[in-house]
Point group: C2
Chain length 308, copies 2
């Protein structure tokens, strides 16, 4: 198996787009009929509905995009049955040829961090079997190293939170220390890990989460982190536009994947798709929203240079 950065590079080039579809199942937003028509479905019923919904999304997007990003929190909320469905969902996506980045934002130190990494990273080698996972950097270098080591052993990847898309992200991330904001300290460290773990494509197994809602910082970080894959959240529902994420890409149109969750998976409830498709044809809404995002990124960012 190729190393993660090379698998991701190949998938983006094959699909000729950098779209990362977020799998964030939420009970209150599922298409009609997936949950039992009662006020209080059991965790097992919710888990089954989440599984059906995620498989339905995967069936639609697998021929179109390089990767999906399940959000661990929504599965974990419903307990062990949710975590079992998370593992099944990851396996299903992998079988369909998608790369899977587990959005878990885990962090801990030493052997505890390694336990998370061993549990989550490596298709066929761990319980959850993700190709990559997100991690949080507050605990410092000895909290990131164990994730990187397990990832390296298993040809998997790690995305470290650098500059997040939420309004409150700046509270700590923008504090200025030694003349630079905190997130640039993290960025420099992450770029070092990316260089260490670089694959044939030039990018490393260690990537960075950099939000679409801060376009100037995105471009600044792109030049500061030339060997780091970017995972860009905040597109669509959070306000980031295709123009905002243009700075995330390298000159070839690679180096970044752009996430949309609600904007794609719950497209059936959005004004522009609700009339055309409605809840019963929710998968057609997913396809239309995915195609629309692909087109916008192709026409307004360097991702258009990927071909097609």
């Amino acid at each position: 198996m190729l190393d993660f950065p090379d698998r991701l590079d190949a998938a983006v080039r094959r699909c000729q787009n950098p779209v990362l579809v977020g799998l964030d199942p939420r009970s209150e937003m599922l298409p009609e009929g997936m949950l039992p028509d009662r006020a209080d479905p059991t965790p097992a019923e919710i888990a089954a509905a989440f599984g059906e919904f995620c498989r339905g999304v995967i069936d639609v997007v697998a021929p179109l995009v390089p990767a999906v990003k399940p959000q661990a929190a929504f599965f974990e909320e419903i307990g062990p049955s949710g975590m079992a469905v998370l593992a099944e969902t990851i396996a299903y996506a992998t079988d369909k040829g998608l790369l899977v980045i587990l959005d878990a934002k885990r962090n801990d130190i030493g052997s505890t961090a390694a336990a998370y990494a061993r549990g989550m990273l490596g298709p066929g080698q761990s319980v959850w079997g993700a190709d990559a996972m997100t991690v949080s950097p507050y605990l410092g270098d000895d909290s990131l190293r164990p994730f990187v080591e397990v990832a390296s052993q298993r040809a998997a990847g790690v995305f470290v939170l650098v500059k997040t898309s939420n309004p409150g992200g700046g509270m700590l991330q923008d504090l200025i220390a030694d003349g630079r904001p905190l997130y640039r300290h993290v960025a420099r460290y992450v770029e070092g890990l990316a260089v260490e773990t670089a694959g044939a494509c030039g990018y490393g197994s260690v990537g960075a989460v950099v939000g679409a809602t801060y376009p100037d910082q995105l471009a600044e970080l792109r030049s500061e982190m030339p060997q780091t894959w970017f995972l860009v959240p905040g597109f669509g529902a959070q306000g980031g536009t295709a123009g905002d994420v243009a700075g995330a890409f390298d000159e070839q149109g690679t180096g970044a994947i752009v996430n949309s969750s609600r904007g794609i998976i719950f497209a059936h409830s959005q004004a522009q798709y609700a009339d055309r498709f409605g809840s019963s044809r929710w998968q057609e809404a997913v396809e239309a929203a995915t195609q629309a995002m692909i087109e916008r990124l192709r026409s307004e960012t360097p991702a258009g240079r990927l071909g097609g």
Copy 2:
């Protein structure tokens, strides 16, 4: 049910000690005979052994200490069966009268953070049912608020990582911004949340994780955060002594709980207990190590003023 800070205050005063026993099950360190005698036990077998081991620890420590702290990573590593045993372990500890702080170090934003909080917080109200959980602050205020809101609704607590015990913790936490290290920025914000959520005892539902390995900072933070419960890791195996943690307590000897994991639960494999008890009498080793820690904290810190 009393709010979390008042339940913790009452438990510490009832037990007359601030010991927090960490439940960090590790396959390679379990007492002999708990795992099947084969090279490759199944996840279900490991989960069953973790459950047996944790119940065994809880049986010993429940009459002695106020609280336990399961480490989510070790349960999560073995998959959904591990997560099911985590829930059973938390329920077992709760039944035995212990408070349970789930060491999950979760973090995310908005409704995603709320999903973690709803899943984990509130005995009898969530799947995992913990009295409190640990969270990481890198994502900023809008990542912490959802945890605090769910905790407030459920009379539960949240401990935010402020100054961690690991050697690499300083990489980001000690960076100086606006004349103060980053961890003091976090500390100030956490103290604000603690004041907002203060219970009858004066301490809030929002606490801070402050490592035993930085005694000067511990004392400094105690005076800067007069209404914040401290969860102090790093005692024992990580090098922190009773003298090192003395600064964590208020004048009444409350306001802090001190964690030991390996030093207590795997005492049977330590030099000073191995000869006396060995693996077959591992629970006696747990009891002796717990009593020794209680005595050291009573004799060398303000926790001695709790009575007894």
